[in-house]
Amino acid sequence: MKIKYDTKKKFVEQVFLLEILKGLKLTLKRLFSKSVTVQYPKEKKPLFPGFRGKHALIRNPLTQEAKCVACMRCASVCPARCISIRYSVDEKTRARKVESYDIDALRCIFCGYCEEACPVNAIVLTEDYEYSDYTREPFRFDMERLLKNWDEFLEKNNIEPDNYLNPFLRPRGLPTGELPAGKRIKVPDEWTYEGQVVWRNGKAVSAKEAASE
């Protein structure tokens, strides 16, 4: 490789250090510009819908228990295999009962597949991201801890449990008819399959149109 240096600078440019003066002008201009720093613990950046943070199990307002039905979809879809569920089956009704639900948050890669796969919207990744600690133990969430995470999240952000919405609770890729009943919740229009806009042949068209083509 041959490096080509720009040697043919104009004499005037060299004598009066024009390039250096240009640089000085730029830095002086920046001195009076507003800094981009976010003073973190005091200020926080806004989180976008669908931020994937601390895990929680949504508490069912009727039973005050987790909504989980032990279908094992989250555990199967989890690429990091950080979810482990044990359940028992009632002999008579064949109903499953969750014995334990554990998430190893240190293994989790926060892909959000679990909340997308869950047919009853039991598991959710909340917008809480400040949960550092000195040991590993606090990051092994059991069912009790996950339910507590949910309560803490609601309390901290002043959210009514009925109003909580997350794009993953109703995945975009599927039309309403193909969603399990638990996922047909009311969400803003652009979060639904019908309202989704995709790019086809240089034009923005709705996902429905794109699928019919």
Binding site: G23, L24, T27, L28, R30, S35, T37, Q39
Partner: protein, 322 residues
């Protein structure tokens, strides 16, 4: 009584200079931060105003580590040489009419001597640490200071010729009587050479080769820690202040200004010094470091011929018009 007055003067100047050193670090971090669209220190006190105190406290309380293979006596002496020679140069600077701790006839030469001595501290620190990074830093410092000392001395010869004196107070008085009031205009070439040499003399960017962080860890002060490191740091900042003072005294008319500010005789002096210190930070935020051969080429092929040309020009003009 005379002695007491001098002691009081020394105390005042020492306190003021040390305070300036403290807040020069804060000011530097703030200015460079904002130039890089950051904020600089913000946590200690409102807008980080107490940051220098926190830093000083930290450096005082830190463990003083000494390499086992170091040359102990020289290792201890090096930072002191730096600091003492930097501080003693402050003695001859006239801050305002009639206020200089020592109003000696060879003020300018004395400052040169002291700033050269300070580089001995750097060289000895590099040598006594017995570490390759320190050693390289020291080597570079000696080469750099020798090259730029010449350019700097020659750049001020024009000022000496115009003022006819080496006494700093007399230089200021001579400037007040001169047609332009400041020597910046008749000595513009000398001023340019002086400013460039000033950066090199104080080991500041773009000539910070002796402590080049990205190549030599920290150069000559790699092996120093705690208070001994702080001594080098203080010496560097005092050196900056002295060089700024020298530039103000020799080229910008010292304490004289467009009008007198009642009650603050040093107002214009301080203002001009702050401008130069700001220039140091401004250049540091803008320019990357020179390569070693570029540094030498600039010193020997550009600055020294320019300074010599300036002397010839000044002499010619003076012999024709004066």
């Amino acid at each position: 009584m005379e002695l007491l007055w001098i002691l009081i003067k020394i105390l005042i100047v020492f306190a003021v200079v040390m305070l300036h050193v403290m807040y020069a670090t804060y000011f530097e971090r703030k200015v460079i931060g904002h130039m890089q669209v950051r904020m600089g220190p913000m946590r200690v006190g409102p807008h980080g105003i107490l940051q220098p105190i926190a830093d000083g406290l930290k450096l005082f309380l830190k463990e003083d580590i000494m390499p086992t293979v170091a040359d102990k006596k020289v290792f201890y002496a090096a930072p002191l040489i730096c600091l003492i020679s930097a501080l003693s140069a402050v003695a001859v600077i006239p801050f305002f009419e009639g206020f200089a701790i020592a109003n000696i006839n060879i003020g300018l030469l004395y400052i040169f001597a002291m700033s050269s001595l300070a580089s001995y501290g750097v060289v000895l620190a590099g040598w006594s640490s017995n570490s390759k990074y320190s050693f390289l830093g020291g080597l570079r410092s000696s080469a750099q200071v020798i090259s730029y000392e010449i350019a700097m001395g020659l750049s001020l010869v024009g000022v000496m010729m115009l003022a006819g004196s080496l006494n700093l107070t007399d230089i200021v008085h001579a400037q007040m009587k001169s047609p332009f009031k400041i020597y910046l205009i008749p000595q513009i070439i000398g001023f340019f050479v002086f400013v460039v040499a000033m950066f090199a003399e104080t080991n500041r960017t773009p000539f910070d080769l002796p402590e080049a962080e990205s190549e030599l860890v920290a150069g000559y002060c790699t092996e120093y820690s705690g208070m001994r490191f702080a001594l080098f740091f203080m010496a560097e900042y005092i050196g900056m202040i002295i060089m700024s003072c020298l530039a103000v005294v020799c080229f910008l008319g010292g304490w004289s200004g467009p009008f007198d500010v009642p009650g603050i005789p040093f107002f214009w002096f301080i203002l001009k010094v702050y401008l130069f210190i700001f220039l140091y930070y401004w250049v540091r935020a803008t320019l990357p470091r020179y390569r070693y051969d570029q540094l030498m080429a600039l010193g020997w092929k550009v600055l020294i011929p320019l300074a010599l040309f300036n002397i010839v020009l000044t002499g010619t003009i003076k012999s024709i018009f004066g």
